[in-house]
Amino acid sequence: MEKELTTLVQMEKGQSGTVLQLKGGRGLVNRLNALGIIPGKKITKVSAMLMRGPVTVEVDRAQIAIGFGMAKKIFVRPD
């Protein structure tokens, strides 16, 4: 069954999924790519700080903290 598309912000803590799309300008896409956040990658949300704080995710066994605004632009299909 196809699950709904969601963003990193909306994902539950501990939930995993596959990166589908990065909706941002070239600069943002480049920086995210450089850290290994690329469409098709497995991604797990580790935590999120309160009040629109950064989201921490795990990609390829590395943890990355992503500001709220950026995290909103990362679309994921949850497993």
């Binding site: 803590k13 920086r31 690329i38 700080m49 943890q63």
Partner: protein, 569 residues
């Protein structure tokens, strides 16, 4: 001379490899962005001597920060690249490797942090990786030195397969294929270290951990420095050095020009290491017995935080607060460095992406973040009047930091980018690099600060003797006495603050100030202008215009805050 560049992603251990190759000590920590400028060293390559350059970490050759731009510039002038790769994260690291392979420069790959692959359940087929990349691949553990000999032997065999440049998505696809072929991951359970890592970036547990870490850091800094002062340095000065000087004093006539410079003023017929202010009295006591203990204890504790990998987690926790100041969480790292010395702190603002962020961070550091030397004097001098006054100084500076950041965020044009950082795994600090780093920083203080301190003390005495300070003091008196409520002699201290703030605060000691005046003096000294070393770095890093802007903000805020404090206290 052959130029060897050490390149790789941030926090893969380039500086550790560099230290091993060259014997030159480089700062090694566990967070991305430890190296913001480059360090040079030399190594033997067969018969020849080669130059080795430790380049700041970069994720790609399309730069996203100033440190990365430097890395790219350096690549132009290199002959061989030792590409340091984090073996526990091949996927991301190999992207840069492939980019380098397209550049036509000979390459050796050092597969660093190799020891961690075992307990992380990662198996890498090195032969296959070597074959796929077409360059030598050597597994290394730079902090212990494992594999370094093999790496040195492999450097002359560096080759360039000269891949055809391709698009970023094709490159990523290629990385994916290589990793699939050479790497096997075994399933394993979460370790306690990983659990602690996850807890550190969750709102509630993270907050508790941060509070515990910072409280422990404070206690440890105090414990070590007080211990050094009370059990080693004070007894040394009081029991051994003072008697020598008391013999020397009458030999020099007990007073006069030379006596003033060398020994200073006797207080009640005795030497007072804080107040006498001669080269051999305060000139030695201030740097060695008041400041040095804090330098050692601060940098030891900072080193622990750097090497365990805690700092980036603190950045995540602080991100929300820092955004109100126009910064993102990572700016907490230069700020913490500033508590040691403002010079490397301003330099390390290079890890921030935008000019605006760098300006705000550097300005806030030079105004509201007192360096360890100044702090040692604040604790030593103001602390005598009672701990509440020390808290007043720190509290005021903290409030200034917040309010000024808030104002700068509203007024400085541009926007601040968002946080995007890699969080390294927790590691036990490698003691060798921890103590090596502590020694480097302490040594840096000794060779850079002590000559200036002695020079300042000598200059002060000479200027006093010829009455130069009195003339300046009379000129500036209306501001200092009228607005700040300090005696006009304090003018000279504020002027000396440009050279060394620790000496400057020391100059307030013989003036017999009230506790409130000491608080005002400390705060004004901290805020009004950076010391000359910080000034030079600020100027170089951010340009004349920004420095002028910052200087205006400094003077204005120092006078306003000093004036307000004077009214309250």
């Amino acid at each position: 001379m052959t130029k060897i560049l050490l390149m790789g992603n941030p926090n893969v251990g380039k500086s550790a490899v560099f230290s091993r190759l060259t014997g030159v000590k480089a700062l090694v920590s566990n967070y991305p962005g430890t190296t913001v400028s480059y360090t040079r060293g030399q190594m033997k390559l067969g018969e020849e001597t080669a130059e080795v350059i430790d380049v700041p970490g970069t994720y790609t050759l399309e730069p996203t920060s100033q440190a990365e731009e430097i890395a790219l510039e350096m690549l132009e002038g290199g002959d061989i690249v030792v590409n340091v790769v984090n073996a526990t994260n091949l996927e991301r690291n190999l992207y840069l490797t492939l980019q380098l392979l397209e550049k036509g420069i000979p390459i050796v790959v050092a597969l660093n942090i190799w020891d961690d692959t075992k307990h992380l359940g990662i198996d890498i087929d090195i032969d296959k990786l070597r074959q796929r990349l077409g360059v030598p691949v050597i597994p290394t553990v730079a902090v212990t030195g494992q594999g370094i000999k093999e790496l040195v032997e492999a450097i002359p065999h560096a080759v360039s397969p000269q891949l055809t440049p391709t698009s970023s998505s094709k490159r990523w696809a290629k990385v994916g294929k290589i990793v699939e072929e050479v790497q096997r991951i075994r399933h394993r359970h979460h370790t306690w270290r990983e659990r602690l890592a996850d807890a550190s970036v969750r709102p509630i547990t993270g907050g508790i951990i941060a509070a515990l870490v910072l409280a422990a850091a404070l206690v440890l800094v105090r414990f070590i420095s007080e211990g050094l002062i009370n059990y080693a340095l004070d007894p040394l000065f009081n029991n051994l050095w003072a008697p020598v000087l008391m013999k020397l004093s009458p030999l020099m006539g007990g007073e006069g020009f030379l006596h003033n410079i060398v020994i200073g003023q006797l207080v009640g017929g005795e030497i007072d290491f804080v107040q006498s202010f001669g080269l051999l009295t305060s000139g030695l006591y201030v740097p060695f017995a008041m400041v040095l203990p804090y330098i050692i204890s601060f940098y030891f504790v900072l080193g622990l935080m750097e090497d365990t990998g805690y700092l980036p987690r603190l950045a995540v926790l602080m991100d929300n607060v820092m955004h109100r100041l126009g910064l993102h969480g990572y700016a907490i790292i230069p700020t913490l460095l500033g508590l040691g010395c403002n010079v490397p702190a301003v330099l390390s603002t290079r890890i921030l992406e935008s000019k605006r962020e760098r300006f705000i961070t550097a300005t806030l550091i030079s105004i509201a973040v007192p360096c360890a030397a100044l702090q040692a004097m604040i604790i030593g001098l103001v602390g005598e009047q009672g701990i509440q006054y020390v808290i007043m100084v720190y509290g005021t500076l903290f409030i200034v930091w917040i309010i000024l950041g808030f104002i700068l965020n509203r007024t400085v044009r541009g926007f601040s980018p968002e946080l995007l950082i890699e969080i390294p795994p927790y590691r036990l600090p490698p003691w060798r690099t921890l103590f090596q780093k502590l020694w480097m920083r302490t040594y840096g203080f000794l060779v850079e600060a002590i000559p200036i301190i002695l020079g300042a003390v000598a200059a002060i005495n000479i200027l006093y003797y010829f009455g130069v300070f009195d003339a300046v003091a009379n000129f500036m008196a209306p501001v200092v006495t009228g607005l700040l409520g300090l005696p006009k002699e304090a003018v000279s201290a504020i002027a000396i603050g440009f050279l060394r703030k620790d000496v400057a605060l020391g100059m307030l000691a013989p003036l017999g100030l009230s506790a409130g005046q000491l608080v005002v003096g400390s705060v004004v000294l901290a805020m009004f202008f950076p010391c000359i070393a910080t000034f030079v770095v600020f100027l170089r890093e951010l340009g004349v215009l920004n420095m002028l802007k910052a200087a205006g903000i400094m003077l204005a805020s120092a006078l306003i805050v000093g004036g307000i404090l004077n009214l309250i206290l």
